[in-house]
Amino acid sequence: MLTRRSPRSAALLLVGVVVALSACGSTAESGSDDDTTGTQAPNASSSPGALPVRDDLVNLQVVPWRTWRAVDNRTLEVIVTAGPTDCYGAEPEVVESEAAVRVRVRVGLQPHAAGKECPAIALESVVPVRLAAPLGTRKVEHLT
């Protein structure tokens, strides 16, 4: 039988923490042996990757975005947590009014990834959102 539950007894959790991919970074590799390599854990500022925006995604699911910023007058970027950007993509929806820009993001598998395995990691990723009119002083809100 296969079921899911919320665990009653907390295990020592050996979890892959959610880490952002570091865009670049120099690492001094050392401690190699025949099969594995170690390095001092880097601490560096990292910028999140971008989920490709497309309209042919599979198994779409609404994912709440956390923060936004204006890239230019007609482009926003919102931050979501999603799988790797080479497997997943985003389909943003925007409803604009005079007072507000309301945004919802759906994330799904890219068609090429639907039949294959993807690393089960969660990453912070940006989703570009195009506006029909300049943002101006309008509020940016969640579309529900």
Binding site: R4, A11, L12, G38, T81, E117, A120
Partner: protein
């Protein structure tokens, strides 16, 4: 020291080591205290060369040695306990899996899945089980002989991948995983 997925410490072929890695035991965003025993910052990372250079999923295993930390300023094992390592067993075994899949509770709470892991394919030695644990569950332990009373058991694989049908797969733990664990043991 923690055992996790290789891709949790290095992004694989052509990639880089992961930055700013921390371990937060019993993380639960629904509790007033999110990190019950505080957190542990990574000191040293390790993974298989075959993961780092070739993104070989049979070698998607990583190790993290942390600084002392938490509420008592000591090691992870002395703070929350530790599992054993099971290696050179079969690919089919009773398993309990723990992780933070973002599709359940937004990844803010630990989930578990249990059942019988089966052989993944004749082409490799991995194990598989249909837990539908997606993004965020990576690196979570596949525990054999899990004791629900004390929360301890033997780590026999780690969460590696999910496919479009919700099937999860994890790498086979052989002597090379033991060797890697022993090497990580010397990283401090």
């Amino acid at each position: 020291m923690l055992i996790t997925a290789g891709h949790c410490v290095h992004s694989g072929q052509g990639g880089t080591w992961q930055s700013n890695l921390v371990f937060v035991p019993r993380y639960n965003a629904f509790n007033a205290d999110h990190d019950l025993v505080v957190r542990f910052q990574a000191y040293w990372l390790r993974t298989f060369n075959e993961w780092m250079n070739d993104s070989n999923l049979n070698r998607d295993v990583g190790w993290v040695t942390t600084f002392s930390g938490g509420d008592w300023g000591t090691t992870v094992v002395n703070t929350v306990g530790g599992h054993g390592l099971a290696y050179n067993g079969g690919t089919e075994f009773d398993v309990s899996i723990f992780g933070y899949p973002s599709k359940f509770d937004g990844g803010n709470k630990m989930w578990a899945c249990w059942g019988v892991a089966t052989d993944s394919s004749i082409w490799d030695d991995r194990s598989q089980i249909g837990c539908n644990f997606g993004g965020g569950s990576s690196g979570g332990p596949w525990i054999w002989n899990y004791n629900n009373d004390n929360g301890l058991g033997w780590v026999r694989s780690v969460m590696s991948t999910v496919d479009g049908g919700g099937v999860n797969r994890g790498p086979y733990f052989d002597t090379a995983v033991l060797d890697g664990t022993n090497a990580a043991d010397g990283d401090w």
